[in-house]
């Protein structure tokens, strides 16, 4: 089997407009969750979210901008970073074989929202002609392919909160098997629009705003956790066959060692210990990594009642006594839940944690929950000099359990 290097990183996320800035925020334990502007929050009971603080308008010529939903704007910015970070300078023929594998749960939610507001709300018959092209879930991946001339497989994976992890894992499988040499893989999501936020609120899965400090609203693994906080953003990594990367002297930012995927068949939202544990075990098996080799788990850790207790039990089931010395943290406590982009942002955070030998904390963990009894690195980052291997968990509505295993790089 061929090995897969991670040679480029890109991320625009709450807390940082590039991977380094994002990681600095996470390592400082700072939350990017905020009260949302009134234009979004006016009719929400829980007016909080995690926004990307980037003027994306400045990144595109005006005619192009008019055709891009925010989700595609964020994806394009993150993709440019990843390509630059990998120093990926390919001739047109080589570019025509590069694949794009992108996860997105809701696609161009803003374009859909705006179209409905015009048609149903304002009763207008003039719907923006670009609406379909902006709203389609595959738009971000398509625009990345167009901008860079990447003409290999261009695939969008939509499996809710596991979308990005699945996109990265499926790209890994292609490279490992020899079907591709280079791929750009990750996820993008831009759900902070009124109609979509309201629908999430109706699902009863969203945290209420913390009365004292909105930034502290997402409390994974804490006894007083009350739900997830939605975030927007995009992250992509360049995956490359190991020898291909070495031959061209590419920076090795990590190695993607394994990928585990399975599906719960019990309930559309309720997670199971069996399913999550099976995905972790499959991932470790595919990586050929023993439980004792893993030092850090970037948890799915949504902050919902159901997930965090189940995930704790699943980690215990797979790791056994090795669970006692694992560092586990949920960076969602700070950058929010990026849904179909979550797995990508969290893989970037995980690779940088390994590089920096610094585990970002689980923020807002003040009140312990007896059901959540692992070491969650509460509230402050921790130096862990000897950790080389980590896993990143993504578990989704619809039952998709996806886990990625990675090893520390040299750049």
């Amino acid at each position: 089997m061929r090995r897969v290097a991670v040679t480029g990183l890109g991320a625009v996320a709450p807390g940082g407009n590039d991977p380094e800035a994002l990681f600095a925020t996470l390592a400082a334990g700072r939350s990017a969750v905020r009260r949302l502007p009134d234009a979004i929050a006016a009719r929400l009971k829980s007016p909080i979210g995690a926004c990307v603080e980037l003027e994306t308008d400045a990144q595109f010529p005006a005619p192009r901008l008019r055709q891009l939903d925010r989700v595609s704007q964020l994806a394009l910015v993150a993709a440019r970073q990843a390509v630059a970070s990998a120093v990926l300078e390919l001739d047109p023929e080589a570019r025509s074989r590069v694949g794009v594998f992108l996860g997105s749960g809701m696609g161009g939610a803003g374009a859909t929202d705006e179209g409905y507001a015009a048609f149903y709300g304002a009763r207008s018959d003039r719907i923006k002609p670009f609406t379909v092209l902006m709203a389609m879930t595959s738009a971000p991946a398509s625009w990345i392919g167009l901008e860079h001339g990447f003409g290999g497989a261009n695939l969008t994976y939509s499996c809710a909160c596991s979308s990005a992890a699945v996109a990265i894992g499926e790209a890994w499988l292609r490279i490992r098997s020899g079907a591709a040499d280079v791929a750009l893989a990750g996820g993008a999501e831009a759900p902070l629009v009124p109609g979509t936020m309201k629908a999430w609120e109706a699902l009863q899965a969203v945290a209420s705003a913390d009365a004292d400090d909105p930034a502290a609203s997402c409390k994974p693994f804490a006894a007083d956790r009350c739900g997830l906080v939605l975030g927007e953003g995009a992250a992509l990594v360049v995956l490359e066959e190991w020898e291909h990367a070495r031959r061209r002297g590419a920076p090795i930012r990590g190695e993607l060692l394994g990928y585990g995927l399975c599906t719960d068949t019990a309930h559309i939202t309720r997670p199971t210990v069996e399913g999550q544990a099976r995905a972790i075990a499959l991932a470790l098996g595919s990586a050929g990594v023993g439980a004792e080799e893993v030092g850090y788990v970037n948890a799915h850790g949504t902050g919902t009642r159901a997930n965090d207790a189940v995930e704790t039990a699943a980690i215990r089931r797979v790791f056994g006594s090795a669970a006692e010395r694992l560092a586990v943290s949920s960076t969602k406590s700070m950058h929010g839940h990026l849904l179909g982009a979550a797995g990508a942002v969290e893989l970037v955070a995980t690779l940088l944690a390994l590089r920096e030998r610094t585990i970002p904390p689980t923020a807002n963990l003040r009140v312990p929950d007896p059901e959540c009894d692992l070491d969650y690195v509460p509230n402050a980052a921790r130096r862990l000099p000897d950790v080389d291997v980590a896993i990143s968990n993504s578990f989704a509505f619809g039952g998709t359990n996806a886990v990625l295993v990675c090893r520390r790089g040299s750049a």
Partner: protein
């Protein structure tokens, strides 16, 4: 009348599409300023709103130049004024 519609069209293209005014004459081919058929439709919608007219059910003939878009809206305005 034609001048007014055309001037509005130029204004939209300069503002929303950041096109330099000197490139925008009645004879400018849409292709030359990278306006595809969807972009032309979007611009037509903006003009419709300004002039309170609506595109007829039948698709307009594909436009080749900026002048043809202006003339099309002009005809709609004239017809709505006549009725």
């Amino acid at each position: 009348m034609t001048t007014t519609v055309f001037e509005d069209l130029r204004e939209i293209l300069m503002k929303d599409y950041e096109l330099p005014g000197e490139r925008l004459t009645r004879e400018t081919p849409l292709e030359e300023i990278d306006l595809d058929s969807l972009a032309a439709m979007e611009i037509l919608f903006s003009l419709e709103e300004r002039y309170h007219v609506s595109i007829e059910d039948t698709d307009p003939t594909p436009f080749a130049t900026l002048g043809e878009i202006a003339d099309y809206v002009d005809r709609l305005v004239a017809r709505s004024g006549a009725s």
